[in-house]
Symmetry: D2
Subunit: 315 residues, 4 copies
């Protein structure tokens, strides 16, 4: 930035970033007739020495967003896609090291899982007894997420998931709460507890000198521990369940130092059937949309600093 | 309707229907500590002797939509939910037979599938070795659908699914098509074929005297045949694949006389990597959103009349 | 179709259609520094002699969906976009008359309205006193719709709109309805009536020999009559309001013979404030999402046959 | 929190908050036959002395989310809704001052605008010549937003909007950018510039002792300045337009110290019509969905600290 070009009025430029968002790249790897698939949605955000493009519109320091898109597709060929995390690391490193004005790159990736279609016995293209070699059905459960940030010296990797809907049909209570003049809620001693899990976890890998985690295994295990903790916690509050889910991850996955959850309480209200002469013995529920309780919290390894923002974004 | 109350101007009332839409009923069935779940979204549409409510606003023939909602929840208790189809049959019969002005009931149901959370070894609440007894994760793949229509004498049952996304990463070609002055498309000899299946199939069960199909097994088998046909068809056009999917169902499921598909061609375009000095050997694709090809068609058992509307609705 | 190529098993092909959906074409017309904008989403569906592509995969009769896309963009240049209806007529005629195997074309169009940004006094690019010449803000209210169908001899034009949300905060009652064993609803003598209007209307223009309506004026006037009827009807039921909205159109617009509405009753429930010692004198409402009443009906000019399908689609 | 109840393993609880989200409150104010409407979506998030509910599930400090919902509806009666901001201030103050364990309240509000339906001349319920007294149509353009945070001593108010779609059909260029080995983009000297504005602005009102802004007028004027700046900037980059939009607000609205924008570049690509022998003289564009450029930035009054998070959330 040249001071001369800055407008005279008392306005400052603060944090800014730019790039191409939502590049939908699909990579097919062929192992003979057996194909493997990676299906990603990659968003690039770059920042650095970008004052002038804001003040005067000069693009002399601007690598076009179109180029960042091209790079995503080219890197899928050049580096392959081992994991969303590894792919994001390649991209972030490239932007920061190849363009002098770019000081920081943040790569966000959504990953969509596919599974093989079960093959009929007569299918000559099947793998072993029961799986098609190059036919897939989208799994459709949670969306896997990662965000890679690189500033030229250290890494921050935050992975996670969203839209994983879970339910315990019993082993949940809610009572003993504060009652003020606006309180009408009845205490509950056996209720449904359901939520759509949005979680982000931060890795303690920050340096190229450290050995990187096995990103694929880490995801699979973290998800497993989270689901087990949800299922196995006898819950007196959704906050307690949240804490157990986070603790289980910190206890079992040494590569993770911090977890943040955003857990909407997907209310299932017991329907009053008495007007119809019927008893509802925890059988018939109305699944409500809005409003919903929203419980958010961070669980940390002792001694670590929290770095995941309190308000989860579309990371 | 009283003729007197009809407005004098030359306007007629045509087809009309009303009811409560999207009743979100969840039914938990407890078998000791082992719970079972049915999760439905039920929409009621009633028609009959309803002229007067349109002309004068008299509600004398109108069962409130609120009552149709109450009935859905009460019936979940009174009849249970064996299957979406059986539940819809109970509801449709009730409205037509219990209210004289109602001549026709149409029940539409969406069903969301859940699977049990895998249990850790230490979990005392697990079923056998590996499944939680009352903890579930939403499957999240396709949404199952059914529509039951009853006019007091005969039944029409159309079931189906939507949002089942599938892909063949090879064994698809597209060439030999018409070329006019607006044609620029290059022929393709090895392409990705992907679609999000929306399908509806009509049962030949129409009468209480007939033995009803096993609705749950029918759904599972129809879905299986459809997926296998998708995977096993070497495709020269999406229309050919559509025809094979429908034929496979008609051939294998004698309870079904008609199938209609709406198949968006979820284009995966091969990315041109040549500007970067790279060869794209059917590896890197761009998954496009809009526009998309849309292929729709009906497959019938020989001699049957088509009854599924050409334009699939939110059935 | 060659009979030989038809599979031997007892399966028939029924109605089928194909084409490119959701072509997002934006046309800018420059009148000096003053620009005009048309923003459409165009979907093409063709049918005709298409058996063979289903049976054998031969594309010999298939104009690619990609070509139908190209045609949409080329026609925006060749014919301009006077109105969505006129543009659809050009396209439908072209496909049916230029390709022998194509016997029927259906063009669906969504139109998004834009208005000019108000200009500041100092703006040299403004129109007259207060409007920018080439700066627009999307209106964001309803989406305008049309569907053109042509079979080579006669036309069917169905236009309409969706997502026009309206509310009367009084002058609505609901009482005098049927009460059965599942009825718990209290009668209401002053309630909010709100809905999100989805409407389709069919023109009686069917032949090139007839003078075509002024499509732009017809839309504007039909929308106006519909809104006025909604506002001015003292309502005893949403069905009565629906009938008045349709009648007003038939009475005032001679070019229209049929109207169909799908009107979700967007419930606004009076909140019970008594537990807090407060009186709710029709002041505070909870806007509910699901379930909702759904009222659908057709209004016709006397003597006309209904042709709009009872289940509105994404037309 | 009792130290004893804390689990022994090395896990800490970090930031946490809870409350009822998306309370859809509609307030009708009657001025004789003339009604006024406020339509809000209110989300409550509380934090404070909440360790124990996470560790042991004790709800002794927890005001139920259901109570926070009741409070929203009761306050609409008790305080009315002058503006979203004022309503949020009432709520935040209440939660922090009435419950000892609650140390901080954050209220997020979305507001949906309505306008009066134009009345026909014959309408006896109209206001003056042309507006209905109690009939409304939802404006449907941007959603207005505010977030109020209170910690018992000082206030933070961040207002804004989302989904305001704007377009300049000319006066936009893009050239002179960095070109690396992945750059293929052609320079543009006359392009469409369109975006869907998401903006948040922070007020410098923080203390009950200060005179509060006129929230309604501030919103209207801020929106106006933003739109004018968009329309009147001859743009060499979307970043330059962003800076001008923010500067215009800071220059004109002394109550605002900081603005942050998230501006997706809604690409409108000129369609290549040459294969069809046609010239596209900046007339026919393809409106693309994904990927899209995403330009984000903060504009500050000189000397102020930025406080709006770099990643806009669903605030």
């Amino acid at each position: 930035m040249t001071v001369n070009s800055r407008p005279a009025h008392p306005v400052m430029l603060g944090q800014n970033q730019y790039g191409k968002a939502e590049n939908r790249v699909v990579k097919i790897t062929r192992d003979g007739a057996t194909h493997h698939i990676k299906d990603l949605n990659v968003s690039v955000a770059l920042s650095g020495d970008m004052d002038e493009v804001h003040y005067s519109g000069s693009n002399a320091n601007v690598l076009p967003t179109d180029t960042t898109k091209n790079t995503v597709f080219a890197f899928a060929k050049e580096h392959g896609i081992e994991s969303a995390e590894q792919f994001g690391i390649h991209l972030a490193r490239h932007f920061v090291t190849s363009q002098q004005p770019i000081h920081r790159a943040r790569i966000r990736i959504e990953e969509y899982a596919w599974e093989r279609i079960a093959a009929s016995g007569a299918d000559s293209q099947s793998i072993g007894a029961d799986e098609a070699r190059h036919s897939f059905v989208r799994k459709g459960q949670e969306t896997r997420l990662t965000q890679i940030t690189y500033d030229g010296s250290s890494w921050e990797v935050i992975s996670g998931l969203k839209d994983l809907t879970v339910m315990n049909s019993t082993d949940s209570e809610f009572w003993g709460y504060v009652k003020d003049k606006y309180t009408t809620l009845q205490e509950a001693y056996d209720r449904i507890l359901a939520t759509s899990v949005s979680a982000r976890w931060r890795f303690n890998w920050t340096d190229d000198e450290q050995k990187a985690p096995d990103w694929e295994k880490s995801y699979e295990q973290t998800r497993k521990h989270m689901l087990e903790a949800f299922a196995e916690t006898y819950s007196l509050s959704l906050q307690q369940t949240l804490y157990q889910m986070g603790s289980r991850i910190i206890d079992n996955r040494s590569e993770i130092d911090e977890v943040r959850f955003s857990l909407p309480n997907k209310h299932h209200f017991l329907v009053d059937l008495e007007p119809f002469g019927l008893k509802n013995d925890n059988e018939v529920y109305f699944a409500a949309d809005r409003p919903y309780g929203l419980i958010e919290g961070t669980i940390l390894r002792d001694g670590c600093e929290p770095k995941i923002p309190a308000d989860l974004t579309n990371l």
